[in-house]
Symmetry: C2
Subunit: 119 residues, 2 copies
């Protein structure tokens, strides 16, 4: 049985907005990602997503509000809800979401990643 | 949209081995629990379980080994695998597992909790 050290895995990630898979259970993935700057407005039709901040903070921008999520906090984005993560400074995040979740949700553009690396 | 502050929720928990539900997504629950001392040997027939240490450390005892899981680390216990969490000192843990998961798995005894409180 292997445990996973989050800081060690995060040290292997240099790109922003490039989630890496670090665990899998019950068809759900655990991913680590570094945010910096604004991402893409999108939603997921069939998946809820959890964002847990390991280090730093980011704004979860929604249609009518924004929520500042800080180290030691998480937010769950329900399926169908339009959102855009935006981090003024680099922010380290652990994601929990189904294996089928595409990073840009309903949008496909140059930031879409169809294959995520496992680390 | 509400975010969840882990430390704030943990401050509402005083009992050991009494998970509280703090989030739900895709049929999975996010729970917070405080460990102290040894739990019960058990397994889950149909559910994998993730244990993420928020504070402190605990030993995940398995049939032929034990894994010390510390702050900032997680371990995924696959379904069917016999295990017993054991914490020498109090340890704060975030769990991620299906809504159907019973704390004592295949064992039912005085430590079994069928209804978990949401906080």
């Amino acid at each position: 049985m292997k445990k996973v050290n989050i800081a060690e895995k995060l040290s292997m990630i240099s790109e922003h907005w490039t989630p890496r898979i670090v665990g899998e259970l019950n068809g759900q993935m655990v991913k680590l990602v570094k945010f910096k700057g604004p991402f893409v407005w999108h939603h997921h039709d069939h998946e809820d997503e959890l964002f847990y901040v390991v280090k730093g903070s980011f704004d979860m921008e929604l249609e009518n509000e924004k929520v500042n999520v800080r180290q030691g906090e998480f937010i769950i984005m329900p399926r169908g809800m339009e959102h855009r993560p935006n981090a003024k400074e680099e922010c380290e995040v652990m994601l929990f979401e189904p294996g089928t979740t595409l990073n840009t949700g309903n949008v496909e553009n140059e930031r879409t990643l169809k294959q995520l690396q496992r680390i």
